[in-house]
């Protein structure tokens, strides 16, 4: 039987990997390639950053992306802009209504504010981002507001906002096409104190397809 997670991907598969629950992931996605993220078990927040491969001072900017599209939610067609205002990636398909880019990443430090100091020792997305980035020469200066695929952060009329029960489900996906060569850094969110992972972090699947058939990066 055909693998439903591969359905509709443009071109041959050049990378296919399961990211374990709670783990970081770093991968170079070449211009024209599509990265598909599969929420295997449902409502698993995937914290996501992207850096321009040739100059990583240029990176995903949530604020530039929001300003340019006039909306805080990321839906099909959203163009992910850099801090220099250039298109880095485009969401070409998703069967989740929208994704978050205002909630940021959990950290050991912010967890102490949100839940209490007893959570300081728990693993967190910023530590995953740092784990991946420090190994390739980036560091804390490279932490900026990220995307949270499969995470739901509504904003109420009085500005109230927060991470609430998810709107994803097992097997739902998002496809992002690279508009330039980018280094994607992901934290498969380990948070257990709010519903962003349904209080149960689970694995996700990362699939890269390449319409040019160029082979693995």
């Amino acid at each position: 039987m055909a693998d439903p997670h591969l359905s509709g991907l443009p071109g041959p598969i050049v990378h296919d990997e399961i990211v374990p629950a709670r783990a970081p992931w770093l991968h170079r996605v070449r211009k024209g390639q599509t990265l598909r993220i599969v929420d295997l078990e449902g409502n698993q927040a995937v914290d996501f950053l992207a850096y321009a491969a040739g100059d990583d001072a240029e990176r995903y900017s949530a604020q530039d992306t929001i300003a340019a599209q006039g909306n805080v939610f990321l839906r099909t067609g959203a163009v992910l802009l850099s801090n220099e205002g250039r298109p880095m990636m485009t969401i070409t398909a998703t069967n989740v209504a929208y994704h978050d880019t205002i909630g940021g990443a959990c950290s050991c430090e912010s967890n102490t504010l949100r839940y209490g100091h007893h959570t300081k020792s728990q693993h967190a997305c910023v530590d995953n981002f740092l784990d991946a980035n420090v190994r390739v020469g980036r560091g804390k200066r490279d932490m900026v507001s990220n995307i949270n695929f499969f995470m739901n952060v509504p904003v109420e009329g009085d500005g109230a906002l927060g991470i609430v029960d998810g709107i994803s489900a097992p097997g739902l996906m998002v496809d992002v096409r690279a508009e330039m060569d980018v280094d994607v850094v992901v934290s498969n969110c380990p948070q257990i104190n709010n519903p962003c992972n349904g209080f149960n972090p689970t694995p996700v699947r990362m699939i890269v397809s390449d319409p040019a058939g160029m082979g693995a990066a």
Partner: protein, 268 residues
Amino acid sequence: MSQTANPYAARDHARAMAGTVVEAMPIVPAAADDAPASVVWEETVAPGGYASRRLARGTRLRLVDLHGDACASVLLFNAENPLERLNVADTVKVQWNGYLGAGKLLLSDMGRVLMSILEDGAGTHDTFCGASNEAANARKYGDGKNYGAHPNARDRFMLGVAKHGLGRKDVHPCVNLFKGVRVAEDGATLPQIGPFAPGRAVILRAEMDLIVVLANCPHVLDPRPEWSVTALRATAWKGAPTPPDDPIRTASPEATRAFLNTEDYYAR
């Protein structure tokens, strides 16, 4: 003969400028007749200009939208360790609200309070849309460069942080004061650009020793075809660090823990 034909004449020509007063300038030594305590910084930032300044813990910073069309884009760093900086996502997430106003905190990425907002006479602020950039200004106004007529906030920030040894990677997501963005139910951003009544003021309190970087450029969602922005006044005066019974410190459990973390940092 030219006024500047030799060094003596050129010196006299230069010195004759002394005492010139314009709107956008620092007052040195710092003084203001409308500040309640000893003034440590008084500067009016030009339309399209920027400023950066170290402020000690406890210092009050008053920003005034002098003519109703300023946009104060703000970056904040822990002056002692600028790797710690404003985290806009944590600021809105930890406080369970995306709209800034009196009583709100500006939080660092290390779980501490960088500034708190003591008074807010504006009510129109933005945590969502950030700084304009050169490309956006070039599209809207024909150019966006620092040396041109339509500078953008990001490149102003770059100059401001560079003067404290920081660089492009340190220009982090910012907040915009005086120009607002609200969010509709469907996620749409609803800009509040004004122009507004002149003289609206925001007073902030430094909760750590800070580097404050200000850029005063048109908001990125400003719908007007003209590059429109007016002068921004910054006045800072000395003040005591926040006491344990401060109403902002005790307003929520998240705020109290953020202040506890800040006080813990200074336990030395």
